[in-house]
Point group: C2
Chain length 340, copies 2
Amino acid sequence: MALGQDSTMKTASSFAELLTGEQKMIDSIKGWVGGSLIGDDCALISSQTLVSTDALVEGVHFRRDLMSLEEIGWKAAAVNLSDIAAMAGRPRYLFVTVCAPAGFSQNDFRSLYEGIGSCARQFRVSIAGGDITASDQLMLSLTVIGDVHENGCLTRSGAKPGDVIIATGDFGASRAGLWQLLAGEASKRNSKDGGGSHTLGKHIHPMPRLSEAWMLVGKTGSAGALMDASDGLADALVQLARANSVGMMVELGSIPIDAQTKKIAAQAGVDPVDWALYGGEDYELVGCIDANVWGEWRKEGSKNNPFVPIGIVTDGVSIDLTRYGSPAPPLDMSKCFQHL
Amino acid sequence: MALGQDSTMKTASSFAELLTGEQKMIDSIKGWVGGSLIGDDCALISSQTLVSTDALVEGVHFRRDLMSLEEIGWKAAAVNLSDIAAMAGRPRYLFVTVCAPAGFSQNDFRSLYEGIGSCARQFRVSIAGGDITASDQLMLSLTVIGDVHENGCLTRSGAKPGDVIIATGDFGASRAGLWQLLAGEASKRNSKDGGGSHTLGKHIHPMPRLSEAWMLVGKTGSAGALMDASDGLADALVQLARANSVGMMVELGSIPIDAQTKKIAAQAGVDPVDWALYGGEDYELVGCIDANVWGEWRKEGSKNNPFVPIGIVTDGVSIDLTRYGSPAPPLDMSKCFQHL
């Protein structure tokens, strides 16, 4: 997660219980360093420039027995670019720091950098610098610098009661892919993007939702709210609600979940909605958009609109869930995966 | 070191033997990712913006039994800002990523961030974001973003035969301070800046040479060459010579070495010139300036000119050393400290 996340501390007591240790730490850090700029997926350091940084640590964020170094490199870059997508920006420059243990060979470095370079090229980002050093544990730290989109900048703030909550793609698939890898199905895949498996592909080869974000900002300008669901849909909803001091009503039945995710969840004996809410690493966009703007845009059809509605913003102080219209149990943030 | 360093690969064969493993790796990375922007202490990503990133790993770059977390935080920030000084830029924003092992307490985080924040405040830099995550080993990764100075931007390129090689401050003191710490003299210091000890202060509490760089760029504009001697004076001379395909004549007797450094070197049984050339971590500036510009500036006296001359740029293909006028043995890069 970016240090910038979750920092607009609101007093709505209903959300206090939904704060993770990570989020509390960020609030502490703001106090220690006086970081008034800390506040979103990216830091907006001028009217034009976005910056975000992400660290990935072996054994915490990835395992080399489950993913190749090229895949790890791609994912590290994609995750970083996703933070720029979360502000609807255009990523431009990537800075790559690698701390590598003894025995990390020239070929290992090559694979890692080729994975990073492959993602950077696909999204037309230049690798402009970085650092390399020794360590006991493989660690990547990437910083991306981007431009604010000419149509506007979407932050976590900007939602209002009555807005429609919208999301791209589908949720829970990355968690299903991880389950497949942990269950030893890794050997079945025959290509770096998951070998045609949607779930493995989402886990191994995530795609930053840049073009989707640009379509949104083309419709909304800077009005509305946006973030990426890197830590799960539930976390994204909580962050958006906190940042705007609003409540939400979310229909679990409308959360897009791929058929393959449901199938694997059944194999695992898990409710696929839990994976969608808490699994994380889907890197889909979650936003809030004016209901009238949404109504018009929706008419254009799914080809011109990559988002689906999953709920509405309320003037309440809690996130209320329904499942096919009936009240559902509240969010349980203890189910979230935390890297700290 | 920054990935940006040392990347202007020249064919001057005399320098090939002076290449470190680190430098060769950087050239490989450029090939893998197509990083044409990789090229100096900072990446110049627009006509106005400088970016640099540095990683510090426990056991590689620092030891917690020798320095407090507040001192480690200060040094991490200062080292990062020094890369902006190396381009004569103005640092503006700092992004701080901390990977912390289990048992790293809230107070530990606080000390670390207070050290970073203290340095940032002193040099009027805003902490604008970052990341925190778990790891086995304490690891910091800092990214600084700065503005090009209104008078110009100094890179490693821009030196020409006949230029005067100039440097700030003094060399070898940081290595002497490290020797004191390793010899168990750490307990003697009573404050975070080395307790009045010049050498401990240089090691523990380095100062980025920002105002010195701004004085230089005020005299030269974008003409000339500049870098910081983070990996030692010898490394800085080699990088400047390679980046410009020039030779150098350096008088070892004119390298500024503090009396305390000499005293500690005598205790350690080491030639203080070796510490000055290869010890590293002095974070002084080393540059090349037009001889006429230098001649005029020098007349203003040391109060208005923080640099001293240590040699001249030649049209040769090697770095020739003299010691009080007599030929001295060539540089021996195997004496350099390398983090990779």
